[in-house]
């Protein structure tokens, strides 16, 4: 028996290879081929729907990727009715029932982004072309997010961004098929500035060290704008190579410049090293202009804090979410994650879990896995109970607007996970901006067929 079909897009009809499929007999597609004409790419066949979890499994962000993967596995478990249902209990939308999505069991495939745009796209393509994934999610850097988002737009698949903080993801490079729950550089700047003003005063001189790539630029820009608006002066901004490991030659001249605040627009390994070096130079013990010298890290993550060890103590930064939040949604998530894996989730895990839930919920509400239907369901969607207070998925740029956390390195941590303490929950209104300020075009949604 044979059946052939010419499709406009490179599409492959498969049942989920992982998850649902077993050694059982080969499947015949002919009767259900009609689904191929359901009007969108990779319309789920049979009783499963496949999601693609594309996270860094090798390279410097592998641990963060591992945490993202844990969150995805937990989300799949909850969606399929396993475990204690986590945030499904607190989520304001009640469309999800623990019966899979649209009656189909959720299966997943995993891939390794290697935190390289090329590799991430290769991995995402294999999920789309080989495994029939209907949605791709994950990632731990903006470069990867932007690259995979563009791929998903071209292919006609929904992309639910993982950890990506650059303004570009939902700014200059936004795409109709891409959605981001995580916050961005602009929000970090807007949330941090008032707290910095309150703690360090309004006449400070800041020295920026900025990782020399897109995310670094947008973060520096955001922090500069918001702190300068408050009255701070920017003494200098120096770009550091992304591949730099020893920052001594960048940090040593800071004191000579007369600056009394050092802003480290670095993430991941860059941040761990630059902060370690800065503390090593004893900057924080110094007095400049009659004030204590301070260091700021605009974007924090728990894994970075862990890497930097005791050096983070007392240093301000912002974060998307933290496990010590006490709202019902966060508590429910921390509980189910903690009971399954034995330690609290990171913000990367949180955003990935929430993105999966939001996608599933949107599919349920739209009644289809068609990317255009899902996009419509997500655009302008307001929800609560996911850990950051009432949240809006803005239609204009597919960015979530929600509370942003300003945190500080904890002085006396009780465990290796208890490294940050929440200083302030900045309300969403304070970090909301006009959708047009970063340019870019959303385009139209692409269902891929």
């Amino acid at each position: 028996m044979s059946k052939s079909n010419f499709t406009r897009r490179g599409l492959l009809k498969t049942s989920a290879v992982a998850g649902g499929a077993t050694l059982a007999a080969p499947q015949f597609f002919s009767p259900s081929w009609a689904d191929g004409h359901a009007g969108y790419l990779n319309a789920p066949q049979g009783d499963t729907v496949t999601l693609g979890f594309n996270v860094p499994q090798s390279g410097p962000y592998a641990d963060e990727g591992a945490d993202e993967l844990r969150a995805y596995e937990l989300a799949v478990e909850h969606l399929n009715g396993g475990g204690d249902a986590g945030m499904m209990n607190t989520f304001s939308s009640k469309a999800l029932t623990g019966n899979g999505v649209l009656g189909k069991k959720v299966a997943y495939v995993t891939g390794d982004t290697q935190t390289k745009p090329d590799a991430a796209r290769a991995s995402a393509k294999s999920m789309i072309e080989k495994d029939g994934a209907v949605m791709i999610t994950g990632g731990s850097s903006s470069g990867v997010a932007v690259a995979v988002q563009a791929l998903c737009q071209e292919a006609g698949i929904i992309f639910m961004a993982g950890l990506t903080h650059s303004n570009d993801t939902t700014g200059k490079d936004k795409k109709a098929n891409g959605f981001r729950h995580f916050f961005n550089s602009y929000m970090s700047g807007a949330a941090l500035a008032p707290i910095l003003g309150a703690n360090y005063g309004k006449d400070r001189k800041a020295y920026h060290l900025t990782a020399d790539y897109n995310w670094g630029y947008t973060t520096e820009e955001a922090v500069r704008t918001s702190t300068e608006a408050m009255g701070w002066e920017t003494v200098a901004a120096v770009k550091t190579p992304l591949t730099q490991t020893d920052f001594s030659s960048y940090i040593a001249p800071v004191l000579q410049s007369g600056a009394d605040v050092l802003v480290l627009n670095h993430y991941g390994g860059n941040m761990v090293n630059s902060l370690t070096n800065a503390v090593q130079f004893g900057l924080r013990d110094k007095q400049v202009n009659g004030k204590n010298f301070e260091i700021i890290v605009p974007l924090y993550s728990r894994l970075m804090a862990k890497g930097a060890g005791a050096n983070v103590k007392g240093i301000f930064g912002s974060t998307n979410w933290h496990w010590s939040l006490t709202d019902e949604g966060s508590k429910a998530f921390v509980k189910s994650f903690g009971e399954k894996y034995g330690f609290p989730p990171s913000q990367a895990a949180h955003t990935c879990y929430v993105q999966t839930m939001l996608y599933a919920d949107a599919a349920e509400r739209a009644g289809t896995f068609n990317p255009c239907g899902i996009a419509e369901a997500l655009e302008g969607f307001e929800f609560d109970g996911m850990g950051n207070g009432p949240t809006l998925y803005r239609a204009e740029d597919h960015q979530c607007f929600k509370d942003v956390l300003v945190v500080k390195g904890k002085e006396n941590p009780t465990s290796e996970f208890d490294l940050l303490e929440i200083v302030e929950v900045t309300p969403a209104a304070q970090v909301t901006y006009d959708a047009s300020i970063f340019g870019g075009e959303l385009g139209t949604c692409n269902p891929g067929a």
Binding site: S58, D63, S249, A252, P253, N273, T276, Q280, G307, D418
Partner: protein, 343 residues
Amino acid sequence: MDAIILQILNGLDKGSAYALIALGLTLIFGTLGVVNFAHGALFMIGAFCAVTLQRILTLSHVVIDDTKKDFLGNPLKVEVPYIYDWFGQETGAAIIDWAVPLAIIFAIPVMIIIGMVMERGLIKHFYKRPHADQILVTFGLAIVLQEIIKAYYGANPIPAPAPEAFKGSYDFGALLGFDANTIIYPYWRLVYFAFAAVVIAAVFAFLQFTTFGMVVRAGMADRETVGLLGIDIDKRFTMMFGLAAAVAGLAGVMYTPINAPNYHMGMDFLVISFVVVVVGGMGSLPGAVLAGFVLGILESFASMREVIEFLPGINQVVIYLAAIIILLTRPRGLLGRKGVMED
């Protein structure tokens, strides 16, 4: 002026790291002619010797503290290192605090054994093979070593701080008559510099003044003749590998407080260490050390704000640019020997 002094200090410090790593590499690559892509991995393993010792010293048993709650609301489990039980909390904490310097003692035998096993088990079969094969096998080995470390310690950097006594920085400005706080330099980096100087001097002295060193130097020049003299040169070369591994490992151990070690740090240093060795000149130990300092100082100056503003991106490329210029003007690098790996 103060800015320049500061960058010279920086350059010396960076340079000592480069020189130390390149020194180990040049013992194997520059003189034995084995293209060892696993050298970075040896540096990384050295750093993880410090982490491992730290882990050993902080081996703990769990005490349940009912007064505090953990993140799930259960009673907090507090981990108490055994060492506290044995030596009391204060002494115990002090020993843990000194984990990194103590790791030197731990790392030397470990690294020597790793280096010798590597040579006996693998590299010795590759002396006569083409460089391409050496690249493939040592690169494979580097990946394997790296992945083993990653599987055990994870991918995230692990902080391994210097002892409390070396926290903070020394104010050179005051010493030299500049304003306070203009020229400060962390104590640990000064220690690193001194340590590098001692290790480099020791290796030189060892090769210069011992019989072993003489035989090895002769063996580098003409392996067959030395073999004819009835000297087991292979055995010396094995020991040489052990020595190179130990030097790389020590560089790694002492580096941990400067940058928190991760499984990938070896690869980050691999390229630069090859560049340093070649710019220094193949087969020349002093060349490698000199090149390390030259490139370190150049890199420091290129990262000055004034320089970057004048030449954007120069901080990214200065090492490579310098390497190109040096190799074009001096065909065998700074102090290279003729005929080593030129074809």
